[in-house]
């Protein structure tokens, strides 16, 4: 199979280049396996990967224009030639490795942890099964960054707009019955940028390798704001 891979090493290269590689596809071969084969052919090539089974979220890449996880994408499902680029809109560190600092800053900004006003109980804070169900489709996020780096609003304002990943997590804690900082969280999302740059483009929904739906989460945040306002 023919792969065309984005190459850029800031220490050596003046500009980026697209380099072609030929990889023999084997049965059940994932894109991550193909990238490792390319690495065997050319050891100057860099990319991130770790668990190899869609859990760690390290190997988010842009393939034929779509963000996906290399480890859970079969090469047989990809159209040849397979063009592999780094996640869009992020500064390139080297080859497919990008700088995700802004993405993590936006995540940090939504305070992704339980905030309690009441004194903490001796043991765990109990939830009913119904309350626990509210977190399904939210807690599974592995922070691969496929969604936020596919979002045009995040491309234009990555410093101000939280992006789909962070907003999904904002809703994850708003929806949690154990959290007691609803008003603070909603106030922190006010303003024209942090939440409201979302224009329901829904690229995030399309690319999420975990089939989560940040657009619905963002809609629920707005709904809750409306409920609190009237």
């Amino acid at each position: 199979m023919k792969f065309i891979v984005f190459r850029y090493n800031p220490d050596v290269d003046a500009t980026l280049r697209m380099q072609e590689y030929e990889v023999a596809a084997s049965r059940g071969m994932m894109l991550r396996d193909a990238l490792m084969e390319i690495k065997r052919q050319d050891e100057t090539f860099s990319f991130r990967h770790s668990c190899g089974e869609g859990v760690c979220g390290s190997d988010g890449v842009n393939v034929n224009g779509t963000n996906l996880l290399g480890c859970i994408t079969r090469v047989s499902d990809l159209k040849e030639p397979v063009t592999v680029r780094p996640l869009p809109g992020r500064p390139v560190v080297r080859d497919l490795v990008v700088d995700m600092s802004q993405f993590y800053q936006q995540y940090r900004a939504v305070r992704p942890y339980l905030i309690r006003r009441d004194p903490l109980p001796e043991q765990e804070i109990l939830q009913s099964p119904g309350e626990r169900d509210q977190l399904d489709g939210l807690y599974e996020c592995i922070m691969c960054g496929c969604c936020s780096t596919a979002c045009p609003s995040f491309w234009w304002n990555p410093d101000k707009f939280h992006g789909p990943q962070a907003l999904l997590q904002a809703w994850r804690f708003l929806a949690d019955s154990r959290d007691q900082a609803t008003d603070e969280r909603l106030d922190a999302l006010e303003g024209p940028y942090r939440l409201f740059r979302c224009h329901t483009i829904m690229n995030c929904v399309e690319v999420c390798p975990k089939h989560l739906n940040p657009t619905v989460a963002i809609g629920k945040i707005k709904e809750l704001m409306l409920k609190k306002a009237i």
Partner: protein, 114 residues
């Protein structure tokens, strides 16, 4: 636009105005399709009716509010230089306010002279 309420309030205004625009547009198109006024005088009589002039005025207010939020969204996304942003927003603000006053004048004058 107030700095604090510019996100949520703008979003709510856009949604509410969209509903009114949608409903009223159906009425307007239906009216024009079924029994369009045949003469200038007929148009003026129609517009001079208090219900029509009020709802029509509300339609244009909704339209300009909706347009303002939309234009502001585009500017926030794409126009980064501060001075250019102020300039573009000002042009649209004056344009929309001017259009609003002009529409109000047309509607009120229709009521006066009949």
């Amino acid at each position: 636009m107030s700095r604090q309420a510019s996100g949520f309030r703008a979003w709510v205004l856009q949604r509410i105005s969209a509903v009114y625009l949608g409903v009223y547009l159906v009425y307007l198109l239906g009216f024009i399709a079924i029994e369009p006024p045949q003469s200038f005088e007929a148009w003026r009589t129609w517009m001079a009716h208090p219900v029509v002039s009020f709802t029509l005025l509300l339609f244009f207010v909704s339209l300009f509010v909706h347009a303002w939020v939309g234009v502001r969204d585009v500017v926030l996304d794409y126009v980064k230089p501060y001075l250019l942003r102020v300039l573009v927003l000002s042009v649209f603000a004056f344009g929309l306010i001017g259009s609003g006053l002009w529409v109000a004048k047309v509607i009120f004058l229709a009521g006066q002279t009949v």
